[in-house]
């Protein structure tokens, strides 16, 4: 704390020194900024003189010049009847250099107005002046602005700015700015241009691409060193673009995989244990999403201050609701259909219709509005230098992490708890498990509830990246079952690998042949794969596997 405070003190002192120095220099140079005639021509002179005056102002001391130019562009620069040039403010008129105030009730003789050409000139001058602003943020904005139209900056100003710039990041950007102008400048030395062109290859700007293309176009000899370097730089840019597209697709695939994992885990637990494909599984996802919606509404109504954290509360809510409904359905329906998996499949399909229609009647057929909490919205571009368009959305990142947490949690439940032991025992050999005293029916019920609860958690995640409507679950059932088939039944790792594999495969394939064909191809691949390995990627080993 103490150290921090002393630092703050030093900062303030430093700022004060800088400010006073600037002020002093401003006053010192005040007289030399413009001659009185130039001052008045700034407001009312003919076009050429005004232009020259603005140009001169642009080369003058940044602090004074930017104030004057700003007021010029805002239309607050006036000429008083006595010939003084003043800036209008809320309190009255102030002479820009001396700081001498004038009473507000004076009727000014003339207001400085700008035509389009002059306005552009003023803007450019202002932009280059902001390069010398004491505030890093202002300089950054000015530089970013200039990067999109670099020709508005003179070489001297650039050199001056580069020499005074202290921030390394901004200095690098100024370097790019210099390279852009040198590369495009036919008059510059060829060695210099070559260096500039080569350095542009590492830049991720559309402007750089334009400049490089112009360089190639202007070069008569297409095999000249410069031209070759330019096309090489362009291809390096293209490669980065391709790589980032690839990275984006891979990440989208991972994200889809994480969603599939959340959808498939519960399905796999239930299918592995009872051999029932829960056709209503997608509807448990949907219920989880609606539970999220209800939690959000509850927070809006009763805990508006904590609204940002509703999602955390939604997790247990969704889990409990879906697990309870799952247990109820197991008790009412599935229990009576053990040993008849085809019938269970049909019955659960009926249940899914009932659940969907109920939700439709209660909440309406339209999608409901579930919003991202602020900490989940937005995105980050990691590795922006190498992969310029690779953007990672926070919500997808969180869901990826969340799915891994759920996988880990399920692993712990299955491997470290008594219930998990029973579930694994029943999955491997039901009758033997019953013989050693496990109440298999009870285990079935708990496992069904567990599977439904995981689906509920998946629903919470889904509500953050897609629409929440009654049909939400329909989309994922087939895909998540494919993940289970691919991975193999009865093994957690199989489902995880299957889901991520499917997700990444389909997203990487999409740019090659379109979403529909990819789905079909993947399906055919899975059918072919099952020919080779009917038990999936991770088959259960041992005698129990024969029964599966």
């Amino acid at each position: 704390m103490k150290i921090n405070r002393s630092f703050a003190w030093i900062d303030i002192c430093r700022l004060a020194v800088v400010a006073s120095l600037l002020l002093l220099s401003a006053i010192a140079s005040a007289a030399t900024v413009l001659s009185p005639t130039e001052w008045s021509s700034l407001v009312s002179g003919p076009y050429g003189e005004r232009k020259a005056a603005i140009e001169k102002l642009g080369q003058a001391d940044p602090v004074i010049a930017s104030t004057v130019l700003q007021s010029l562009s805002q239309g607050t620069l006036f000429e008083l009847p006595d010939g003084n040039i003043v800036i209008k403010s809320d309190k009255g008129y102030i002479q820009p250099i001396s700081g001498r105030p004038f009473p507000a009730d004076i009727q000014p003789a003339r207001q400085a107005t700008l035509n389009n050409a002059l306005r552009r000139q003023v803007q450019n001058a202002l932009a280059s002046l902001s390069l010398f602003s004491p505030y890093t943020q202002t300089r950054r904005m000015a530089i970013d602005n200039l990067l999109s139209r670099p020709d508005s900056l003179s070489a001297q100003q650039l050199a001056k700015a580069t020499s005074t710039e202290t921030d390394p990041d901004l200095k690098a950007k100024l370097g790019i700015l210099g390279a852009l102008s040198i590369a495009g400048d036919q008059a510059a030395g060829s060695a210099q241009r070559l260096q500039a062109v080569v350095s542009l290859g590492a830049v991720n700007l559309s402007q750089a691409r334009t400049v490089l293309n112009t360089v190639i176009d202007d070069e008569h000899d297409k095999s000249s060193e410069l031209s070759l370097a330019a096309s090489d730089a362009l291809s390096r840019m293209d490669a980065r673009g391709r790589n980032s597209a690839l990275a984006s697709n891979a990440f989208t695939g991972l994200s889809l995989g994480s969603v599939l994992v959340l959808a498939a885990l519960g399905l796999a637990v239930i299918y592995g244990l009872i051999g029932v494909i829960n056709m209503a599984h997608g509807e448990f996802l949907m219920l989880g999403a609606y539970a999220t919606y209800l939690t959000q509404r509850a927070f809006q109504a009763w805990l508006p201050d904590w609204l940002d954290y509703y999602l955390i509360a939604a997790l247990p809510v969704a889990f409990v609701i879906t697990a309870a409904i799952g247990m109820m359905i197991e008790w009412l329906i599935i229990r009576h259909l053990y040993g008849r998996p085809l019938e269970s499949l049909l019955a659960t399909f009926g249940v899914s219709l009932l659940m969907m229609q109920t939700v439709r009647l209660v909440f309406g057929a339209q999608n409901v509005d579930v919003s991202n909490p602020s900490w989940m919205s937005g995105s980050v571009a990691p590795l922006a230098d190498w992969l310029p368009t690779f953007v990672v959305a926070y919500n997808r990142l969180y869901i990826l992490g969340f799915s891994l947490v759920v996988v880990f949690g399920l692993y712990v439940v299955l491997n470290k708890t008594r219930l998990g032991l029973f579930i694994r025992a029943c999955t491997q050999n039901r009758s033997m498990a019953a013989c050693v005293g496990i109440r298999t029916r009870k285990v079935d019920a708990y496992a069904f509830a567990l599977g439904a609860g995981i689906a509920g958690l998946g629903g919470v995640a889904l509500s953050q990246i897609g629409n929440v409507g009654p049909d939400l679950g329909q989309v994922y059932l087939i895909d998540s079952f494919m993940a289970v088939v691919l991975g193999g039944v009865g093994q957690l790792i199989g489902t995880v690998v299957g889901a991520f594999g499917l997700g990444i495969l389909s997203k990487l394939g999409e740019p090659l042949m379109g979403a529909v064909l990819v789905k079909i191809v993947i399906l055919l691949l899975i059918v072919a794969f099952i020919q080779k390995r009917p038990q999936g990627l991770f088959a259960q080993k041992g005698r129990s596997a024969a029964q599966a």
Partner: protein, 383 residues
């Protein structure tokens, strides 16, 4: 000492009992007479008159009944639950529609390219449309395409011994993928609009009562033929093996049969019949689109069989008429409750009526049968 070895080969059961034949004949004659009377011989305001709407609706149900019987063939008799028969149905319908959409109105010259090609700026039809401007080839396609698709899928599925729910969900996935494929405009089947606006069939205008009556009667004839065919198959030795596979596939294998051949044959036949039903459906209803392949449609087909009663041909037909009757009623009068009814049907039928409606009718006879049945083999539901 030689022990005389006697092998008693069970005699082939008769196709139908005497009363069965009688009932079948009566129904056939009655339906034909009523149809002719209702559409041809009565005035439009007569109470006996059958409107075009009724005729089309009933014709549609006849097609569904063929579907239900073909599904019953694999599910009821062989224990293979298909959640993808909508695919074969739609393929048949599409094959037929390829002809219908090109057939010009009677008396007009050839109609040129189908409308969907203009959307895609195609100047000619893709290669797989070759020959579809003739009715014969279209009908052959309607039978062949579903047959080949089913054969290929079935070969790979049954060869690797994919069974039970595993297989069911694979059939659903294939159907779903096909639906996505047909939704694409570039696939060349009219995208999500499918085919509609048919003008004629075999040179006759498609919208006249006479053509509709003929189509209806053809559908009915094929329904009857399929009924007899399935009954004939199921009473044959082949049919016995099929039923045995349902009850215990491993035992059938141990006796020395290869279930793959039997399953593949019955599966392909079922798909062919389904395609035929689709080919009849398209001209009757006048539209075909990829929605027919949606997984829900295929599952609805399953509920027809389940409601009627698995393993019973009459049950299948009964199921189609019951479920669709209920659907027509509910969608007309209380549409938001139809899905409740449908969902409820799935649950109730599987929980309380494993033998369907037919099972309810036959319940009284069952105890008597059980006394005579051999106790050795308890029929287990196949997995």
């Amino acid at each position: 000492m030689k022990t005389p070895f006697e092998l008693t080969v069970p005699e082939r059961a008769p196709l139908f009992s005497r009363s069965g034949w009688l009932a079948l004949m009566t129904i056939v004659i009655a339906v034909v007479l009523i149809t002719l009377l209702g559409t041809q011989l009565t005035a439009a305001d007569s109470p006996l008159h059958i409107s075009d709407y009724t005729l089309t609706l009933t014709g549609k149900l006849l097609c569904y009944a063929i579907v239900a019987m073909s599904l019953n063939l694999v599910w009821g008799y062989c224990g293979i639950l298909s959640l993808g028969h909508g695919l074969y149905f739609a393929l048949g319908g599409y094959a037929m529609s390829m002809y219908l959409v090109q057939a010009p109105a009677p008396g007009e010259p050839s109609g040129g390219l189908p409308a969907f090609t203009f959307l895609l700026n195609w100047t000619e039809l893709p290669w797989y449309w070759a020959g579809t401007d003739t009715l014969i080839w279209a009908v052959m396609l309607a039978v062949l395409v579903p047959g080949i698709v089913a054969f290929v899928f079935g070969y790979f599925a049954f060869r690797s011994r994919i069974q039970g729910v595993y297989l069911s969900i694979m059939t659903q996935a294939v159907t779903y993928a096909a639906m996505l494929l047909f939704f694409r405009n570039e696939t060349g089947f009219g995208g999500n609009n499918g085919f509609t606006d048919f003008k004629s069939i075999a040179g006759y205008s498609i919208s006249t009562t006479n053509t509709r009556t003929v189509l209806f009667l053809i559908s009915f004839a094929i329904l009857v033929l399929v009924f007899v065919l399935v009954q004939w198959i199921m009473t044959s030795r082949f049919g016995k093996v099929i039923t045995a596979i349902r009850d215990s596939e491993s035992r059938v294998m141990f006796i020395g049969f290869n279930p793959l051949h039997y399953k593949l044959a019955i599966w392909t036949l079922s798909a062919v019949l389904c395609g035929l039903a689709g080919a009849l459906y398209a001209p009757l209803v006048g539209i075909i689109n990829p929605g027919e392949m949606s997984p829900v449609n295929s599952i609805e087909m399953v509920i027809w069989v389940a409601v009627g009663g698995r393993g019973s041909l009459v049950g299948s037909i009964l199921g189609v008429f019951t479920v669709n009757g209920a659907k027509t009623f509910f969608t007309a009068f209380m549409p938001e409750y139809w899905l409740y009814v449908l969902g409820g049907l799935f649950v109730v039928v599987t929980l309380f009526m494993p033998k369907g409606l037919i099972g309810l009718f036959r319940r009284r006879r069952i105890p008597a049968k059980e006394k005579t049945a051999s106790p050795a083999l308890s029929v287990t539901e196949s997995v």
